[in-house]
């Protein structure tokens, strides 16, 4: 798992791109993907899972594939958010996977 944590935020943006387009990664990811017609998993989706746990300030616009379990689901003005301390994420579907983009606090 430690190697997975090395993918940093720059890697996250790349991963999001990969998830959307299924283009291959350059290096450093933990998983080689077999893409088929029926069931494919974008590269390093699982690798990303651990990285959002770094609970320091995250730049607005950063995209991750999961948020820490301690985050709470919050509705503000009929919009769904995940609030993780001072960091707010807005979920959205990128392809068939939910991703979370860091946004300015809505309140």
């Amino acid at each position: 798992m430690s190697s997975m944590n090395k993918i940093g935020s720059r890697g996250l943006a790349l991963v999001v791109f990969l998830a959307a387009t299924a283009v291959a990664p350059r290096a450093g990811n933990a998983v080689v993907v077999v893409r088929t017609a029926v069931n494919y998993h974008p590269v390093a989706r699982r690798a990303v899972v651990t990285t959002a746990a770094v609970a320091t300030a995250v730049a607005v616009g950063t995209v991750v594939h999961s948020v820490p379990p301690s985050c709470s689901s919050v509705m503000v003005g009929n919009v769904a958010y995940q609030q993780c301390g001072n960091t707010w994420y807005q979920p959205r579907y990128a392809g068939s996977a939910v991703t979370y983009v860091v946004v300015n606090p809505p309140r």
Binding site: T21, A24, V32, N39, Y40, H41, A80, A94, S96
Partner: protein, 259 residues
């Protein structure tokens, strides 16, 4: 290397889904490629024609997919895909697996993607037929519809040209059903197909092996068909559970904008 793998498997997936079953023009190419048994190609075409005749059906696929750990060890993930179709404009899909959780609803007007585990769903106004839907979901929304290749078996795209070998391996039993077992080869991919014998030439099992990768990862599925299912309208229209929240599709990232 990985890019190569992805490209190859994607090509294979497209080829598998699109043309192999649909084109009757094998005679010439078979003469030029004696490794391709024309009877094996004819079996694909017969299967495709039969599938295209079905106006409604449900199919359940038990799926396994290999991945590699960073150590190089190959591991297998599993899941199921349930698909219910009423032509021309109804689709319902449930995808459940170690790493996937998707429900898809399409009623000729609205497409909904719902992830039960995360509790989020998103919708878009959909085209009025399944054929158009596949185009939109893949190109605009980046959503791969599992088993959606079924829809392409009726198109004119030609995949037979990619096949470098086609063989009837023999007769085999898939979950108690007698099938003809075929093996095909094309660049970087070997694949096998088990087609039910008798009046219902259905694909009952498929295995895809990526031969360009040293570990030769495989993707396999066993299919169970129901050609006379009861498919009521309510199956195809999403009614959000109280705890589910609607979110948006991130369409921008689907049009090739690098972040």
């Amino acid at each position: 290397m990985r890019m190569h793998l992805l490209a190859v498997t994607t090509v294979a997936a497209v080829a598998l889904g699109t043309g192999l079953w649909s084109r009757p023009s094998l005679a010439k190419s078979a003469a030029a490629k004696p490794a391709v048994d024309p009877d094996a190609i004819a079996a694909l075409q017969k299967m495709g024609a039969f599938l295209r005749e079905q106006q409604k059906f449900s199919v359940r696929a038990s799926v396994t997919t290999d991945d590699l750990l960073s150590s190089g060890q190959k591991v297998q993930f599993g899941g199921t895909v349930e698909m219910m179709v009423r032509r021309p404009d109804r689709l319902r899909m449930n995808v459940r697996g170690d790493r996937r959780d998707e429900q898809i609803y399409y009623d000729g007007k609205t497409f909904t993607l719902f992830g039960e585990r995360v509790g989020y769903y998103a919708t878009f106004q959909a085209p009025s037929t399944l054929a158009e839907l596949k185009e939109v979901t893949e190109k605009r929304y980046g959503i791969d519809l599992p088993l959606a290749d079924l829809f392409y078996w009726g198109t004119e795209h030609d995949g037979t040209a990619d096949i470098t070998a086609a063989t009837h391996v023999g007769v085999a039993s898939v979950e108690g059903t007698a099938c003809d077992h075929y093996a095909f080869r094309q660049k970087d991919v070997d694949w096998e197909l088990w087609i039910e014998q008798g009046p219902h030439p259905l694909p009952r099992k498929m295995v895809i092996t990526t031969t360009s990768e040293r570990s030769r990862p495989q993707h396999g599925m066993v299919l169970t068909w129901d050609l006379s299912p009861q498919l009521g309208d309510q199956l195809f229209t999403f009614a959000p559970p109280p705890e589910a929240h609607k979110i948006d599709f991130d369409v921008a990232s689907q049009v090739g904008s690098r972040q």
